[in-house]
Symmetry: C2
Subunit: 252 residues, 2 copies
């Protein structure tokens, strides 16, 4: 039985929308959850505005099994995610003792845990903490929403604590054929016919060009059924050979 479990990502921060910061968290999340049987199906990027964050969280958590947010949980005034999540869930938010204890141990005493740092111990009611192996200030899970840091190394660390909480479905497997010298326009008809013929497989083609003038297409098949994936792959290889290419199977 194929069972599909979906997720959305919500990337939070003015710096992503101003172009100051190149996001990499989307790809990290997608590739972390895929082998666990959770498919990223949608993502949004919003600014540091509580109303925008709350509206996006509520839209996404209603539409998907899981939501992963990144950014906005630090100690400064522009970190508004925790309050926005509390607003979205209609719960209150306060400094929580277990979160405070983690920060106290890290900063080494009440005198160093100033008001700003204590903000990072403010957790919406009903949430559970997500461990932060890098800089200690925790993320949290509330309902089906996982709230993580924006700094890529910290976010990646938090995923280790998130992974075991996910109940995945059938894993979406993929296969890539590298076809040097092929053009999309030449293979499109045959390629579409394969997708129609093999149910439960979705096919995508991605042209590539190298600076030296070399070019080709990556043909990608994705399916939750290994047998159907293989059937599509064999048909794709035959198509590429018919068109004069020597297809090369790449890993995932």
């Amino acid at each position: 039985m194929i069972r599909t479990v979906t997720a959305a990502a919500l990337l939070i921060g003015d710096e992503l929308l101003s172009g100051r910061t190149q996001d990499t968290n989307l790809k990290t999340i997608a590739t972390f959850i895929a082998p666990l049987g959770v498919q990223l199906q949608e993502a949004r990027v919003v600014s540091d505005q509580p109303e925008a964050i709350a509206a996006a969280v509520n839209a996404l958590r209603a539409a998907h099994d899981y939501v992963f947010t990144t950014g906005g949980i630090g100690p400064t005034h522009d970190d508004k995610t925790a309050d926005a999540i509390a607003m979205a869930f209609g719960v209150s938010i306060n400094v929580r003792e277990d979160a405070k204890a983690i920060l106290l141990a890290h900063y080494g005493g009440e005198d160093k845990l100033n008001e700003a740092r204590l903000r990072m111990a403010r957790i919406p009611d009903g949430a559970s903490l997500i461990a932060n192996p890098v800089s200690k200030a925790p993320g949290f899970q509330i309902g089906n929403v996982f709230v993580m840091a924006g700094v890529p190394s910290i976010m990646r660390g938090m995923l280790e604590d998130v992974g075991p909480r996910l109940r995945g479905g059938s894993v979406m497997q993929s296969l890539t054929l590298r076809c040097r010298g092929l053009r999309e326009g030449d293979l499109a008809a045959g390629f579409a016919a394969i997708e129609e013929r093999v149910p439960g497989v979705s096919l995508g083609s991605y042209p590539w060009f190298s600076p030296g003038g070399d070019f080709g297409v990556h043909l990608v098949a994705r399916s939750q059924s290994p047998a159907l994936l293989n059937e599509a792959a064999i048909a794709m290889e035959a198509l590429a050979r018919d068109l004069g290419a020597t297809p090369e199977r790449l890993g995932a």
Copy 2:
């Protein structure tokens, strides 16, 4: 008079959500439109599903002055953006002669312009073409929506034809202070006070860590008023010095 013009980006493609492809178009669009006085305020990433594309386009075009889409306008069956945009606008879509002429000239004759390639000349009614200086197949503009290719070099080329069509507002200017050795938790209170004191400036802080153990914070001020931006910058520099750092002004 400050006039704010906003935009949204819609990034289309399964490959962005599977983690196969690292998007770079968001940052390219953001940094291209910012000096033209158009602020990217929101972005979404959706899969190659016409309904998802159309719903996102309709939500975004109602909320912003401009919408920029990338991806899904190639010749293969997984390129569904043009049809989805026609659906979103409630107009029909057909092969258009001016678009076909561009492709004919590029491919060198009717015999090479097969049915798949001709798909790239299908343009929603009422749209104007966007020139593609790289691979010729055009993008299009319909209403306040600019539909561009997903391949970064092609998308970047299309922006050259899009730029002159934008009517921007006041430019959001920014300034970054690099503060080595500072920690967010130590500057948070003073930093928040500056934002409260200087109206029309938004402040963000972004910690950085180098592999060698060096660390610090980038303090970023953004404003549509150069005078207020400078006022905030002077206050930020004083704050950093008070905390023992030697702030360094970086360009934008």
